[in-house]
Subunit: 227 residues, 2 copies
């Protein structure tokens, strides 16, 4: 298994390995439309979860958990919660933008063979966690690092992932029976795909444009834009 | 350049590429002690920033900016803000735990040749952003995805990164002259290293243990722990 690598001495990353790494990083997509029903094998899922679990975490607190959601009835309830939020969201856009919003497919809750909720336990590590003393949101940010590791590792395994954020989190927490202090951070649809698109779907559909990196960089302070 | 890959048709990731990806992912460390003074070349830094900029973002809003901090005077001020927060933090631990905390080096602000603050513009994309309507924190989470892409890409370039969270964010925002609505998400120390440790420093120093993945997984709801 590749993840035994962690205990071997660390070698430099060579050019080929770097190319391969970027192939995964730039090949990652937010998948909504291309899910296939084929189940994700246990060993593949374990690789992805193991990668997520090796994300950085504040004070090594590892505040995440992984809820693997396959039950069809539960997924129907979650899908209903998405639909309600999505209808509310559509009303917030005006005119052409609203009809374009309504034409977009923004989730694969029922199409993907697996849904995964990655949660954050706000109390993990006790009341004083190294690195969280002045930024209490660091446990949430650590959990997002685990989400991004999950997403990239899935791409490395040729598995697609889509993040569903159009849902009421309290409702989701209730459906997943999360205890007090545990919050959902990411609700992910997970499965093999017919294809990985070459660009983000929102870019291909002209919803938004890719910004120029050069315009996003400053030197020393916000007063000195580089680009 | 590797990042031109994004416009080519997407091929499956093969076994060798996957191994290489995991070599990067499991080789990433939170660096505090091993920074070398050698500057990070511009093309290498551009590769890392480009990778960060290709993180997923809610509604493709790309809410991040990158502040490249090299000015020694400014870094001294930021280091002072860290020291103040770190002294406050130490007082929150008791007995042996406090002395152990005080013995840990938790940043490389002055040692690393480059510091990078990754910020989130809470107003990017206007008042209604697709996917942010029901989870307003999604722009912060997108920014953390960019941080994790930055971190992993740096490892692929054999560059170390350490995230400093022991600092007052309002003070940091003031020093970096961030405008209203732009918040610091991650303050990163960046540079080549004498070595990448085989395990997290907090694990090697017995501050915290790695948890078992099996205990972190649930089926369908929190009521069904898998492990």
């Amino acid at each position: 298994m590749s993840h035994t690598k962690q205990t071997e001495p660390q070698a430099d990353i060579d050019e080929l390995a770097r190319e391969h790494f970027y192939q995964v990083l730039y090949g990652r997509r937010d998948v909504r439309n291309q899910f296939l029903p084929d189940p994700v094998p246990d060993d593949v899922l374990t690789n992805i979860l193991h990668a997520a679990h090796h994300a950085p975490s504040v004070g090594l607190s590892q505040p995440w958990n992984f809820i693997l959601i396959r039950n069809p009835e539960l997924r129907n309830q979650i899908y209903s919660a998405f639909c309600q939020a999505n209808d509310e969201a559509a009303q917030m856009f005006e005119g052409d933008r609203r009809s374009q919003y309504q034409s977009l497919k923004l989730q694969g809750i029922l199409d993907a063979p697996l849904n995964v909720c990655i949660t954050c336990d706000r109390n993990r590590g006790g009341p004083v966690v190294l690195g969280k003393t002045h930024q209490p949101e660091m446990d949430l940010y650590s959990t997002v690092c685990a989400v991004q590791n999950f997403w990239l590792s899935a791409r490395a395994e040729n598995v697609g992932v889509g993040w569903v954020s159009i849902i009421n989190k309290n409702k989701l927490a209730g459906l997943l029976k999360l205890p007090e202090g545990v919050v959902p951070v990411a609700y992910l649809c997970v499965g093999y795909v017919s294809e990985f698109l070459t660009k983000p779907e929102l870019e291909l559909s002209n919803w938004e444009k890719r910004k120029q990196l050069e315009e996003m960089i400053f030197d020393d302070t916000w007063a000195n834009r580089k680009g």
